[in-house]
Symmetry: C2
């Protein structure tokens, strides 16, 4: 959310407010590379959408091409690191009040470089009113899109691509926002869009929808009647008045009419019997706040009942509410939720969307970009560029509230590969990746926010150190610090701003912010060095393992995996040790491990299982680079291969902390193959396959995995899933239910978390699970 001097009364819709200043890199970002445009002008808010190609640096690795000269290799890094420019596609959505439309169009015209685009997709009522202004300013032909089609395409898009998009609102519980994991099958659903008026649409498939009802009592009514009654012209101020009002001074309640509850009809005493029922016969004046609150209740209750009736008529149990009337306002969401629960006796669920205002613009854009077939790609929210759910709740500080009313942003990055469910998930609809919901668990939230704030200095230093020869590294690093610090403060204030707050979302936000300021992979050099050291130790480790008896070897292999996992720069305790003692080696790590019995210890069952027939195919999700992958994972992989089990080794598509990336794993495998015939032949015969997860996070969402990986898992009939590391196996997937055997193992390198789980620093989780029959 960008700060900008939005002065000017901005009162009347028609007179445009030109007094606004727009910091170029903050609101209409990357305009110079903007291609396709779409605009949705509603009764009161304008949403602009455009697609831009974003240049950003990506760390690349390439093995040196030198044949035979072993000696030099000894001290050479295993591969070359280079930084390359890559172009990825990004969608930008900006929301602002119609009063600023002319200023914004001027701004875009000035910054627009690419003249290729000839057309701008336009939807929403205003598209008609401002058609000439847009064409004159942008010299683009306005191509009108039907508003409902856009709303629905937009809704399908956010429901499919933004994990924590929909949420249930529970006023009095903490957190008020309970985010829903993405339902793999989003159809059919009911969309209730509350703009100036209300449209109720049944959405059956991507392209099939039907307008089933509507009402003229919508946002425009609240705004219009509110303005007449309270002489307050601004929509947000009206909502603000309402949040401080007492509707029972204005409304006739059931108890006012019947002296209490109405037994026979089962109506409680404080139900509203008649909105504004008291104002006809009462003589005294009513406060603005009370009238605004009564109006808000009247409209929300009505919409809630209509939606619920339509839902029941079409036997649908999920109703999504969109449109500018909601805008994350607690009072509105609470009344609609109350009304739906009341009229459906709890059978229908009211769901709200984090990005409800953008649906039209997203849809219009997708309509325009149809030939690029955007639906075949997966998209991910760029936390760095998005302003997050800005509930203008009263508790919000004045600064936030001012901004919330001015500019809202959403950025979505097109992922290179489409993401799908892991086919081995027991019940996709109920799968929740994150173990702890920080929006829910206040204590944990407080700890982790502080933890990330304290770690920020280290990350900034790391970033600067990773680009020694860059002139502006320090300046960019400071911008990174400021941006991430602001995000953390927003999340302190509004934990639900980006959906459910989890350790994963905190980590991912940090990665996005690093990328934002061109620090794609701050650990590239560290990983390069550690991989080098580990590769040199590989033959020795393998020899010592082969010398052991079978049973002893299995325990050593597991210990190796666990010890390897200690080398996690992301973990606070470890990064401190590694900083101080560069020779902290593999053996020292093993000694640091907790003795058995581990905190979670199903090793004996695992050993018992190993005495049984070999698994057909094991899917292993690797964690850290260096000792972890080379001295922990590969020996374990080698053992599986020797038992006749095929192995799919899945590593991150993009860098995160010092986790191994897919491209690094290819080089490491190649070097290991050079030293070990078992790995060599497995690679040749494709019994060992290296794939990318489609993720660039230290954690793991099994419902958003690379399509290729999922296909392979199905093809090779994977019957064992191994998830390694605190991020992937504890912060996420600790409770994930799979349809096959699974092994979740990690060393707890965070004292607070260890205590939380009933253990101590370096406690061991070794969780082997077999699906119930």
């Amino acid at each position: 959310m960008a700060e900008c001097g939005a002065s000017g009364s901005g009162s009347s819709g028609d007179s445009l407010d030109k007094s606004i200043t727009l910091p170029p890199d903050e609101i209409f970002r990357n305009l110079e590379n903007a291609k396709r445009f779409a605009i949705d002008i509603g009764g009161s808010l304008t949403k602009l959408a455009y697609y831009s190609t974003v240049q950003h640096k990506v760390a690349k690795v390439r093995s040196f091409d030198h044949s035979g000269k072993d000696t030099e290799r000894e001290h050479e890094p295993p591969y070359e690191i280079s930084v390359q420019e890559e172009i990825t596609a990004r969608l930008h959505f900006i929301k602002f009040e119609n009063t600023y439309i002319e200023a914004c169009l001027d701004f875009i015209k000035d910054h627009l470089v690419n003249t290729e685009t000839k057309v701008i997709q336009a939807t929403g009522g205003g598209a008609y009113k401002f058609k000439d202004l847009i064409e004159e300013k942008l010299r683009l032909k306005v191509d009108k899109e039907d508003v409902m089609t856009c709303l629905i395409k937009g809704c399908n898009f956010v429901l499919k691509n933004i994990p924590h998009e929909a949420f249930v609102y529970q006023k009095d519980s903490d957190p008020e926002f309970r985010f829903q994991t993405n339902h793999p099958h989003i159809f059919p659903y009911l969309l209730v869009n509350i703009g100036s008026g209300v449209s109720i649409v049944k959405v059956e498939t991507e392209d099939r929808f039907e307008w089933v009802g509507g009402s003229s009592i919508g946002g425009g009514t609240f705004w219009g009647l509110g303005a007449l009654l309270t002489k307050t012209k601004k929509f947000d101020e009206l909502l603000h008045l309402a949040s401080r009002g007492q509707h029972s001074n204005v409304d006739m309640l059931v108890r006012d009419v019947y002296g209490g509850a109405h037994q026979t009809l089962g109506l409680s005493g404080n139900l509203i019997a008649s909105s504004f029922g008291k104002s006809a016969t009462a003589d005294q004046e009513f406060s603005k706040e009370d009238m605004a609150k009564s109006l808000l209740h009247m409209i929300s209750n009505d919409i809630g009942q209509l939606a619920c009736l339509h839902a029941r008529l079409h036997s649908l149990d999920r109703v999504y509410f969109g449109g500018f009337f909601i805008r994350g306002h607690p009072v509105t969401m609470r009344t609609i939720t109350y009304s739906i629960n009341f009229f459906s006796k709890g059978e229908v669920q009211a769901l709200f969307l984090r990005h409800e205002g953008y649906l039209g613009a997203i849809g219009a854009f997708l309509k325009g970009a149809e030939q690029d077939n955007p639906n075949q790609y997966s998209w991910g929210e760029n936390y760095a560029g998005s302003s997050g759910l800005m509930s203008a709740s009263p508790e919000l500080g004045p600064a936030q509230r001012a901004r919330s009313g001015t500019f809202d942003l959403l950025e979505m990055d097109r992922l290179e590969r489409p993401l799908v469910d892991l086919p081995l998930l027991l019940d996709p609809p109920s799968y929740v990746p994150d173990t702890v919901d920080l929006t829910d668990d206040a204590l944990a939230r407080k700890y982790w926010l502080t933890c990330f704030e304290e770690a920020l200095d280290g990350v900034v230093k790391r970033a600067v150190a990773s680009q020694p020869d860059s002139v502006d590294a320090a300046e960019r690093a400071e911008k990174f610090r400021q941006k991430y610090w602001n995000k953390l403060q927003t999340l302190r204030q509004q934990p639900f701003a980006y959906g459910t707050l989890t350790v994963r979302s905190l980590l991912d936000t940090r990665e996005h912010c690093l990328n934002e300021f061109n620090f794609p992979d701050p650990y590239s050099k560290v990983k390069q060095r550690e991989n080098g050291v580990a590769l040199r130790c590989f033959p020795g480790v393998v020899r010592s393992l082969d010398a052991l008896g079978w049973e002893e070897r299995q325990l050593a292999l597991v210990k190796g995996l666990l010890a390897g996992n200690v080398f996690d720069w992301g973990a606070k305790a470890v990064s401190a040790v590694l900083e101080s003692d560069p020779y902290f080696g593999f053996e020292e790590a093993k000694r640091k491990l907790q003795e058995r019995p581990w905190l979670v210890d199903s090793y004996s069952e695992w050993l018992q299982r190993l005495k049984g027939p070999p698994h057909k195919c094991a899917l292993i999700f690797a964690d850290n680079s260096g000792i972890d992958i080379i001295l922990g994972v590969f020996p374990f992989v080698r053992e599986l291969l020797l038992r006749g089990t095929e192995v799919i080794l899945a590593c991150n598509s993009g860098p995160a902390l010092n986790d191994v990336t897919h491209s690094e794993s290819l080089i490491v495998a190649e070097r290991i193959a050079g030293m070990d015939p078992v790995v060599h032949s497995a690679l040749q015969e494709e019994r060992l396959l290296l794939v990318q997860t489609g993720s660039s996070s230290p954690c793991l969402d099994l419902s958003r995995l690379d399509k290729g990986l999922a296909a392979l898992v199905r093809e090779r009939g994977a019957d064992l899933v191994v998830i390694e590391g605190m991020g992937r196996a504890v912060h996420t997937n600790y409770h994930a239910a799979l349809r096959c055997e699974s092994l979740k193992l990690a060393v707890i390198k965070n004292a607070w978390l260890a205590e939380r789980l009933g253990g101590r620093l370096f406690s061991v989780i070794f969780k082997y699970e077999v699906p119930a029959e």
Copy 2:
């Protein structure tokens, strides 16, 4: 509707207006005999109900007990007429604004004589607020009744007992009101009561109902928000403002948002997209009229959609709207009807009730009177005492509108015997008694209203003449004239005031007004004299008929029936002749008849039928007294008896014009039996049965017949129905479809009607119909 000086601002609900003067015999009538009380105090209107025993004069006939002295009988009237006092039960319902409640309670206290009643049933919200005031004033204990139960009991009562209770409202067509005949099976239905708030109830049986939904956006909202927006405090004035407003100045229409209709969603351009949508961004002030209209549309549309959704959810196609918000206001009814049609695509019908305001009071009263089991009786509206649907439409003259806002009355008389459908009706739900709907047929309306106005003098003279020895007959006759004249003017202005306007309702209203001023049977002496004359001619007529050949006799019998029917004092042309030429005899009447072929002539089919097997049992509805019954009907009955057909002769329960009453028919039959063995033995062996129809009208509603008659019809397997006379066979039942053979015959004694039917004065209708296989 009583005129009364309702002065005083009556503005604020709480401060009571004592300045009202109440003419005792006009509003709270017959209080001195009032028994049970019930009161329904809503948010703005009070409805009082009480039950009184009404003394009124009834004409009785008794045959002279003289044995054997034939000679004296010659010049003596056939029977003795006497006037007796009879007590019948009447329900009174009075509606007025809460501001007059104290004045009314005082008035009742002063006039209350009967101290037997200890309790007053009370319902509606206000019952709680005014509880102490009522108990203090009336010294009756308030017994609170649940408002919804009362509403439903009241609704069931009016739907069952008031034929033209429900109507469909069609704004632009003439008439706007299309009344529905009573559906024999009124359950299940949806009742939407719009008081201060809205309650939607599914009514499944007399005692089983379920609150399915409701809304706080009801009458109280219109009144409350309206008062705030327009500073107009009185509900009716608000409605009046609305009727002169243009909502499109305030509302955002679909075309304002999308520049025209919305193709994909199929929404027409002038649909309201957002109520008050223009008032947020527009700078200019809005007129009170426009705001009131927009508010009215907003509320009516919303209620319409909710009702329609609930109706579809419970697969009901009839929705009745009640509650003070409607009150016959065209704008409200039109918007609700439009909304229901729009959202149900014409599958659900919006129905309004003539007496919607009274439902609560009627229900409360019935609840209190439960031990008398009011539901076992049938009730009929007393047109003389009821104020009729007073649509406060703008076109209404100021006088009417002033009254409409002050006092409304409804009176229901308990009929001695329960009324049911004639079992021989082909399809009861679609049976419509009246041939011409005068609310629909403006030309016919104009004619008949003028016809009844012109006949009024005659009726007044007749009434005075019928009570030569009464001192105040002239004064009462003038009051009758004034009352009936006012009714006719109301009907000129508001043809739909008492439901569908028909010749039947005009006739019945006149009978009620005559009864009101104690002229129960103005034609009693005329009938007595004519019966005497006819009885003396009976033997000669029978002899001449017996002398004819079979075929000739059948034609003579039919001609006799037709000629007899000419003697109808109700028919304008005939009453003029009878007045001038007292000796206008049976033969002269025959000669007046139209020669064959008659206007409608299925005599040959009838003759052909007579050659077939005799009918099992014929049900004959007789018309006039004197020559008609004695020289026309009885010879025809005699012929049927001789063929072996049983006969049920049905005559009016109460007097109407010079129609024969059941009690007169008993004496006439007795005297004829004395002269004719065929009739004598038939009476003895109960092959001839004399029954009462349950009606006191010159016309005939086959869906409201005496339960005894219906049972007899079923028991004797009646397979022929004969309906005689213009009132019963032309003004009503001309198109009635029966499940057995039927004979409808009449002489058209009204030139205008004859012309209308394509004939001339004294044209003959002889319609013999056989039901399709």
